[in-house]
Structure formats: structure tokens, C-alpha cells
């Protein structure tokens, strides 16, 4: 049987061919029996029936990269629940709805956690690509997304509380304060507690990749409520990007999570910070150590071509509590090779994510993984050497202290803006641990 002609794949880009052809099919029993080594799992595609108890696979999910769920009829919606459950359990790989899925299920499939649909060629003939494309183009935010805390979908009826806040921002008088208003252009919620947002870059505002700036909202007393945020966008970008945690009782982030596109924020247009290329002496490899939202300045540097002019290899080590917390960084790193400006340097970037609170293929604290040498083994790199290696650290107090000690033992010396050294560090302004920093954000 010619399998090529059997299935048509639908993603948010329309029809495509099956790129899982080279993957052997496995059933859950093959995994549960323990006959396949965990590292091998990513090579397979796992097929699930829609009555399968997916909870039994929980500990294997971090190793899997391709799962398909069967849709036996147009009336049977069990697969949507399985998809949502797999995502809740931490599965980050590709999820495919396979079988009798029709155009009108596209919305349900994508909003339940699928990123691909596979339909028989015969069905695809009856429902050709334009029908699917129309669905793809007409997807709008759902009520369920709107009800999530921190939803970016705002109300707009006249008695709306959120709109009132927005008006207050617009009426704020910034004359003689040195601050400027900046308009929000995009908001993305990565998890219930992590989101990124972009604003228009004010004219004449200059900064170096890796610096931070003060940004915020008007406070209850009418005075600006500003906090330091690293700029996550590179210095050439027309917009400024920021990455924030939501702290439920924090005076700023509890409000900031509700901003919507078109809102005005307040910016103090004076950027500073030590995590800039000029703070480091010349070297060959640049190690970036980050925890939580401390990845932001590195996301800026990694998108700046100048970084690749000064260093031959960039090694980004990012540690978070949960797998989902990695998504923001992961998405950007994975898109580097498609970036017209820095795509050619993609093979210079080494990305090493770790998590501390969930099962993951690299579990544990960075310091441990450094000391045991596991990181270098996994990335197939030689260990750190003070002659060729430079480093930047941005994370929790604990991470900063541990890495600093580790580097100093190896002979690296700390630098600053006016006194370049072999490594620099900065506290992550919007930290990993909301409990530790809660009162100030």
C-alpha cells in the first residue's frame, strides 16, 4: 500500500505532506513495557485510541515528540479531551488528530491542544484546502481564553472596568516627568503566570542589547508605578519586547497582566545594565546562564548579529520550575534559523533547557549539571576554560551566587560596564520565584 497517498496533513499553514513517514509507529504498550529506552522515544510516532488512559504515560511525555489520537467518527469528541489532558500533563511535542475530522472541528482541535490534523485523502478531496484555509483564517479568541486570568481580550462595553483603567492611563500627564507613553502592540500569554508584551519604541530611544529599563502603569495615587524590566528585543528592533511573570498580589504585575493592545504604558527612556557585550573581554564562547524570566536579556542578545561577530559559539542554559515555563525561550530559539538577520548563525547557538520541579530529559539545577559535567557531555562541548570562555548570569539570587562561585573557581573574573571582565551578572528583575519577590512586583 502506498502510504504517501493515504493521508493529508493540515496545520495552521494549510495542507502538507506527512512528515512522520520516517517515524516508526508504536503503541502505548510498547512504551509501558519498558522495552524502549527513553532517549529513543523521540524518534517514534505514538498512536493512541481515544479511550486510552493517557495519565499512565505521564512520565514518558517529556521524551515523546509525536503523538496521534484517533477520531473514529464525526460525533465522537473524546479526542479533544485527551488532547487537553496530554497538554495539562506537560506534553510539548506535536499532537495530531487523525481520522474523521472535518473542517468544522478545526477550531475545537486547535483550541484543545492539537497542532496537526491528518485526514484520509478521500475526505480531503471532498473538503479541499480552501475550506480549511477559511477556518484557519477565521479563528477568533474563544470565551474560554477570555475567562483565563490575564486574558488579553478586553471588554469594550461602556461600563467596563478595564476600559476605565485604560482611560486613566491616557489621561496621565507625563509633562516634565521625563517619562514617555508607549503603546502596546502585542501580548502573548505563555502560561497562566508568564506573558510577554511588545510596545512601540519611542523615537530617539537608544539602548544596547541586554540592557534594562523602567516601565509600568500609573499607580493608585496617580504617580507612575514603574519596575525594572530587561528588554528582550534586540537593539535594532522597531518595537520593545518584555517578558513578565504575574504575581497575583503584586502592585504592578497584577495590573499589567490585564493590558490589551492599544493601551498606553509608561516608560522611563533611560536604559542601563551590565549584561552588554562591551562589559566582556574578547573570547570565543559566550555562556549565558538564566533562570525564569532572567532569560529576557539573553533573548535580546541572541537576536543581535553583533553577538555572533564577537563570539563563535553561544551557549544558553535556562532553568525553570516547570516544562511549560520554558515555552517563551524555546519558541524564540527554535525560530532563529528562520530569522533573515541571524538565521545564518543558528548553528552557533547551543540551547540547554532544564527544569527543577517536573520530569524532563534534563532535570536538575544548572550548578549540579555543570559540576558533574553532564551539560558538556550532552552538548558535546569542552568544559569551561577561562582563556576562551566568557559568561553572563541573570537569575535568582541563588543561581547568581552559585554560578559566580563556580566561574571564579575556574579563574574567570567579574567585569562591569566601565571595567570589562570575563563574566558579568545581573539579578533577574522579574524573578523565577513569585514568593520571594512578590511584594515588590
Amino acid at each position: 500500500m502506498d502510504a504517501m497517498s493515504e493521508w493529508v496533513i493540515i496545520t495552521n499553514k494549510g495542507f502538507s505532506n506527512d512528515d512522520w513517514m520516517s517515524r516508526s509507529v508504536i503503541e502505548p504498550e510498547n512504551i509501558l513495557s519498558g522495552n524502549i529506552r527513553e532517549e529513543q522515544l523521540k524518534k517514534f510516532q505514538l498512536k493512541l485510541k481515544n479511550d486510552f488512559q493517557v495519565e499512565t504515560l505521564k512520565s514518558f511525555l517529556p521524551y515523546l515528540s509525536a503523538i496521534s489520537i484517533d477520531f473514529p467518527s464525526e460525533k465522537d469528541g473524546r479526542g479533544f479531551s485527551l488532547a487537553r489532558r496530554l497538554r495539562q500533563l506537560g506534553y510539548l511535542g506535536t499532537l495530531r488528530a487523525t481520522g474523521h475530522v472535518i473542517v468544522d472541528h478545526y477550531r475545537h482541535a486547535t483550541q484543545s491542544g492539537f497542532n496537526q490534523i491528518a485526514i484520509p485523502t478521500k475526505l480531503a478531496k471532498r473538503m479541499p484546502e480552501p475550506h480549511w484555509q477559511q477556518q484557519i483564517d477565521s479563528i477568533t479568541p474563544s470565551y474560554q481564553e477570555k475567562l483565563q486570568p490575564g486574558s488579553s481580550t478586553s471588554y469594550s462595553s461602556k461600563n467596563n472596568i478595564l476600559i476605565k483603567e485604560k482611560k486613566a492611563i491616557q489621561n496621565l500627564n507625563l509633562n516634565n516627568t521625563g517619562f514617555v507613553g508607549v503603546v502596546v502592540t502585542k501580548i502573548t500569554h505563555w502560561t497562566d503566570w508568564l506573558f510577554s508584551f511588545r510596545v512601540v519604541r519611542p523615537k530617539n530611544f537608544r539602548f544596547q542589547s541586554g540592557e534594562f529599563v523602567m516601565i509600568g502603569l500609573p499607580g493608585d495615587n496617580g504617580k507612575p508605578l514603574l519596575r525594572a524590566y530587561s528588554i528582550a528585543s534586540p537593539s535594532w528592533d522597531n518595537e520593545l519586547e518584555f517578558y513578565s511573570i504575574i504575581i497575583p498580589d503584586g502592585p504592578l504585575t497584577s495590573q499589567l497582566q490585564h493590558i490589551s493592545v492599544g493601551d498606553n504604558l509608561i516608560l522611563n527612556p533611560k536604559a542601563t545594565g551590565t549584561l552588554i557585550l562591551d562589559s566582556l573581554l574578547p573570547g570565543k564562547r559566550l555562556f549565558m546562564f538564566a533562570s525564569g524570566t532572567g532569560i529576557a536579556p539573553f533573548i535580546s542578545l541572541i537576536r543581535d548579529p553583533e553577538t555572533y561577530e564577537k563570539f563563535e559559539q553561544i551557549i544558553l542554559l535556562h532553568t525553570c520550575r516547570g516544562i511549560k515555563d520554558l515555552n517563551y525561550g524555546k519558541n524564540i530559539i527554535e525560530a532563529i534559523n528562520k530569522d533573515p538577520l541571524i538565521g545564518e548563525y543558528a548553528d552557533k547557538v547551543f540551547y540547554y533547557p532544564t527544569v527543577t520541579r517536573e520530569e524532563f530529559h534534563t532535570k536538575g539545577r544548572i550548578t549540579e549539571l555543570l559540576k558533574t559535567g553532564k551539560i558538556f557531555q550532552d552538548l558535546q562541548l569542552v568544559p569551561i576554560n577561562c582563556d576562551i570562555d566568557r559568561a553572563m548570569i541573570c537569575g535568582s539570587r541563588g543561581l547568581n551566587k552559585d554560578i559566580k562561585e563556580f566561574l571564579e573557581v575556574l579563574g574567570l573574573k567579574e567585569g562591569a560596564r566601565n571595567r570589562p571582565g570575563e563574566f558579568v551578572l545581573e539579578k533577574a528583575f522579574v524573578g523565577l520565584n513569585p514568593i520571594g519577590l512578590g511584594s515588590s512586583l
Binding site: 479511550d51 464525526e74 460525533k75 465522537d76 469528541g77 473524546r78 479533544f80 479531551s81 485527551l82 487537553r84 489532558r85 495539562q88 472535518i102 473542517v103 468544522d104 477550531r107 475545537h108 482541535a109 486547535t110 483550541q111 484543545s112 471532498r126 473538503m127 475550506h131 477559511q134 477565521s138 477568533t140 479568541p141 474563544s142 470565551y143 474560554q144 477570555k146 475567562l147 483565563q148 486570568p149 490575564g150 486574558s151 481580550t153 471588554y155 469594550s156 462595553s157 461600563n159 467596563n160 472596568i161 478595564l162 497562566d192 497575583p248 490585564h258
Partner: protein, 553 residues
């Protein structure tokens, strides 16, 4: 009242467009009939005996005058000049052409209404107490909760293709007027020992061919966890509810088969795994919704003595006795308007009547109406001084029937005259019973008595919870009516007991009369209602009366 914002408006417009596309794709052959059917049903469109029927969602029954005026216009433009208010607080039009449906939906969208999820195997329109916001016995207005659930359940990606339909009702009062024990999920607002407000949850109630009283799932769920909790119930149902047999697919059967303890264990296993991770909804959305239901300002209304208006108008006094309910504010009353004039079809309202209802709400009652699950219309907030004006106006359009809660206030499904599933006529039976007992003296003598009639085993006329329930069946091509006694849809939930063999259509009325006479002749006194009498004596005296006379065949 909740008013639609741009998000809601866009959503409805989107879905109208989507349905237009679906109809087109069905016509073009892109969709098969099997594929189209669930999509058609999720937009409220049924194929009936004579034509298409469309069911319009009225969330928790609440309407503005503008909305009911538009419903009248739709009845005029696309139907035969009337609409049928249902036991699920919705309205149905029975004479719709498929080619008019998209225009009709556009007209609805103009007044922020739609037909989404009024049918199909999804979470249906959320129902609630028809006295919500006005009743004196309320812990809190249940409608903000019902509205939150409307938003959560509307277009939910995971729950659009469930094993079977799913109905949720919310009560804000310990006196249950929303029949929460007869829903897939029943929610009751309660306070715990610390004075915090939360919810008591019942699961697996329902009528149909397997009537069940809802089983207690949780005594107290904190407010902010409601959606996580319901998500867990739905998740378990969607994955493990039966799909092999349509008659065993409701959640009540899953609860029967697993037992309430195992059902609870499975739901909590899911709930415990998500409750700390998913935080919803955000407090300001909840507050925003609650603020939308802020009561009108009652303080400007002057004191008024209704008794004075009774002088010289016995008919008004009689009407006031049955159709008024105390309001939480002493200067207001709740007015129930009966759609059960003896001889008329229960729940039907003409274009003219709907327009009068709109005018009355607008002029005298803070622009608010509510459809009750007993198929009447409620004006929740009426200043006492306006009651007589309302009565006089109602009288002009045949809406001043004084029978709320009485024997002629009958609930009935459309029956075989309209419904494809029905096995017997029900509306003509309702009309006959109502006419037989409707003279004022008899009806007052009988006192509170709820008769409910279903034209088939699916029990849309709620016969299981009628004090007297009537179920029409087909026995070898002849209509046959079974009687149940003692059903109750309130907080003291009971499923009616069957008396025995059924009756033919002409013998049925005599049997009902015999049942009523047993009660009238044997009750302790006038304070002992039919239901209380039945609870005291049970089925046997009634059986004796109706079967000894050989009424049955």
C-alpha cells in the same frame, strides 16, 4: 441585566457566518447529512413534522423589552404569528423555512440573541430561578454564576461532541425553583460555616425514560474553583460516558454504573490535578459579570396599599392572590403572567401579546422579563402602584388568567401535533383538563396542584415531577396515557409513582377527575395540599378510585 459587549457580539456574528457556511457546504455536498446534523443541531435547528423548528436561547430566561419585541417581529416575519416558550426557558418557532434561517439568526443577533447550543450533544442553555434577583429567600442572585457558565460553556472546544446533551441549572435560594435535582448538573448557592459563599453540586439528575434525582457530588465548592470543578466533571463524562447506546449515554447512567463514590473519586482525581494550576476566572471578570446584574434602584418607589385596589374588583383580587409573589423590597411585587389560558396551547404567546409584555416591562417594570420553566412570563420587579395598570392591560390581550400554580397552569410539551418524536398528543389533553377544572371556584377549592404532560417517554413535559404526571404513549396505534402521582421538582425532589395501566384519551379526563375527588373528599382540611395529602396516604386510595370504576382498558 447582562449586556453584550463587543466580544459577545462578535462571537454571535461569527457563529451566524459559520452556520451560513455550513448550510452552503451541505448544499454543495462538502458535508454529508451525518456530518451536517450535529452542526445543524448545535445551531438550534430541528426537522419537525411539518417544517423546521428553531429553538432560540434565552440564557437563564432573562429578556429585555427590546428582545421580546424582536421575538415578536420574528414570529410575524418567519412564523405564523406566535412563538412557544419552553420548559427550558427558551422560545421555539415551529414553522420555519430553511431558507429563512440565516436571516432569522441575523435578526436575533441584532438584539444580542442566538440559537447556539440549544440542541445537540453539548452543554445546553443554562437555566436558573425565574425569580432570580427578586426573591426574598435568595442567598445571592444566581444569574452571575449562570452567566459565567454561559460564557464558559459557549463554544467550549472540548465539550461540543459529548456522548449526549448536557443540562445545567443554578439556584441561588434554598427553595429550589429551578429543578436543579433534575439536571445533569444542579448547582445551589450555599454558605459554609465560615460564612463564605460557594456551591453545592448535584450530578446525574434528569427525566426522560430513566428518571433520576440528582445525587450529591459536593457539599461545598469555593466560588473561584467552580469552573475547574465543572471542567473535571465534563472531562470525566466526555471520556467515560457511554457512546454505544443513545439511551444510556446521559451522565446519570454513568453515575448509576460507577456509583456516586467512584464517580466522585474520578472527578476529584482530575480536579486535584488541575485546581492549583489553572486559575480561573480572573476576579475582575467575575466582578464585572456580577456588577452587570446589580439590582435597579428600588428606593424611589413609594409605599402603596394593594388591598385598596382590590375594592370593587373581585377579578383583580383573585388574580393577585395567585399571580403575585412577595418581592425582597416591600414596595415591589413579583408578577407572574400566565401563558395557560384554559383552551389555549400552554406556553404559546402571540405577536400582539409579546408586544404588550414588552410595553409593560418597559413602562412599569425596569425593562426586565423572565421566562419561567413552567412556561409563564415573569415581571421580576413591579412597584405595587403599577400592578393594577398591568392587570388591566393584560386583560385586554387574554393574559390575565389567574391560575399560577393551580390545576389549569399545566406544563405540556408540544406533543404529536408538532414533534417528530412524540407518540401521543399532549396539547389537546392539557386544553381539556384545563377547561374541565378552570371555573374559578373549583380551581380555588383544589388549591396548588401541578399537572405536567409529556407526549412521549422523553419527558419534555416534565411529567415525572408533576404532582399529577401524564405520559402519552402509543399502544398498538392507539394513544394511551399513563398517570404518575407525587412527583416534585423542588428541593424536596420526588419522581412520580405510576398508578398502573394507562387510559385512553377520553377516559383520561374522568380518571384525573376521580383523583382530584379522592383528594377533595379526604383531605384533613384546606391547608393540606394535594401533594401533602399524597405524601400522607400514598398511592392506594387513588388506585382504588381510578381502577375500580374500570376506567382503564
Amino acid at each position: 441585566m447582562y449586556s453584550y459587549n463587543d466580544f459577545d457580539k462578535n462571537f454571535v456574528r461569527q457563529r451566524v457566518n459559520e452556520f451560513r457556511g455550513q448550510v452552503q457546504r451541505r448544499i454543495d455536498g462538502v458535508l454529508t447529512e451525518e456530518e451536517f446534523k450535529p452542526l445543524r443541531l448545535q445551531n438550534g435547528l430541528y426537522m419537525q413534522v411539518h417544517s423546521y423548528m428553531i429553538r432560540i436561547a434565552i440564557p437563564y430566561g432573562t429578556l429585555s423589552s427590546k428582545q421580546i419585541r424582536q421575538l415578536a417581529l420574528i414570529a410575524e416575519k418567519y412564523d405564523k404569528g406566535y412563538g412557544h416558550f419552553t420548559t427550558r426557558q427558551n422560545i421555539q418557532y415551529n414553522w420555519i423555512k430553511l431558507s429563512d434561517v440565516a436571516d432569522l439568526l441575523d435578526d436575533l443577533a441584532e438584539v444580542d440573541m442566538h440559537a447556539i447550543q440549544t440542541s445537540g450533544n453539548c452543554i445546553r442553555n443554562i437555566t436558573s430561578d425565574h425569580f432570580a434577583g427578586a426573591a426574598a429567600d435568595e442567598i445571592e442572585d444566581p444569574r452571575p454564576t449562570a452567566e459565567l457558565l454561559r460564557q464558559w460553556s459557549t463554544g467550549h472546544p472540548e465539550y461540543a461532541f459529548l456522548p449526549r446533551k448536557f443540562k445545567i441549572a443554578v439556584s441561588g435560594s434554598p427553595n429550589d425553583r429551578a429543578a436543579i435535582a433534575f439536571h445533569d448538573i444542579g448547582i445551589c448557592v450555599v454558605k459554609n460555616n465560615n460564612g463564605e459563599t460557594g456551591y453545592k453540586i448535584y450530578i446525574g439528575g434528569g427525566q426522560g425514560r430513566t428518571p433520576r434525582i440528582g445525587r450529591m457530588l459536593s457539599k461545598f465548592i469555593p466560588k473561584k474553583q467552580l469552573l475547574n470543578y465543572l471542567d473535571s466533571v465534563m472531562h470525566v463524562y466526555n471520556r467515560f460516558g457511554r457512546r454505544d447506546n443513545i439511551y444510556k449515554a446521559r451522565i446519570k447512567i454513568l453515575v448509576d454504573e460507577l456509583g456516586i463514590n467512584e464517580t466522585r473519586r474520578q472527578i476529584y482525581e482530575h480536579y486535584d490535578s488541575i485546581k492549583n494550576e489553572v486559575r480561573q476566572p480572573s476576579t475582575d471578570i467575575a466582578k464585572f459579570i456580577t456588577d452587570e446584574f446589580s439590582p435597579p434602584d428600588f428606593s424611589n418607589v413609594k409605599k402603596h396599599d394593594l388591598e385598596k385596589d382590590f375594592i370593587g374588583s373581585l377579578l383583580f383580587k383573585n388574580w393577585a392572590e395567585t399571580n403575585l409573589t412577595p418581592h425582597r423590597d416591600p414596595n415591589h411585587v413579583i408578577v407572574s403572567i400566565s401563558l395557560k389560558k384554559p383552551g389555549a396551547t400552554p406556553g404559546d404567546a402571540s405577536v400582539k401579546q409579546m408586544r404588550v409584555l414588552a410595553d409593560l416591562a418597559e413602562q412599569y417594570a425596569y425593562d426586565e422579563l423572565c421566562v419561567s420553566h413552567e412556561q409563564n412570563i415573569i415581571l421580576p420587579h413591579v412597584p405595587k402602584q403599577h400592578v393594577i395598570k398591568i392587570y388591566n392591560k393584560l386583560n385586554e390581550v387574554d393574559l390575565a388568567t389567574s391560575n399560577i400554580g393551580m390545576v389549569s397552569d399545566i406544563i405540556s410539551c408540544p406533543g404529536m401535533d408538532y414533534c417528530k418524536l412524540a407518540t401521543a398528543r399532549s396539547i389537546p389533553i392539557a386544553k381539556q383538563i384545563a377547561t374541565r377544572f378552570s371555573d374559578l371556584k373549583t380551581e380555588r377549592d383544589i388549591g396548588p396542584l401541578k399537572i405536567k404532560i409529556s407526549g412521549c417517554i422523553n419527558a419534555c413535559g416534565h411529567h415525572h415531577i408533576g404532582h399529577i404526571g401524564i405520559l402519552g404513549l402509543d399502544r398498538g396505534g392507539v394513544e394511551n396515557y399513563q398517570i404518575t402521582l407525587g412527583g416534585d421538582g423542588t428541593e424536596d425532589a420526588h419522581i412520580g409513582e405510576r398508578t398502573g395501566p394507562g387510559f385512553s384519551a377520553d377516559k383520561l379526563i374522568e380518571a384525573i377527575e376521580a383523583i382530584i375527588n379522592v383528594y377533595l373528599n379526604n383531605r384533613k382540611n384546606r391547608n393540606e395540599t394535594f401533594l401533602n395529602y399524597y405524601r400522607r396516604v400514598g398511592l392506594s386510595p387513588f388506585k382504588l378510585a381510578i381502577y375500580q370504576n374500570k376506567l382503564s382498558k
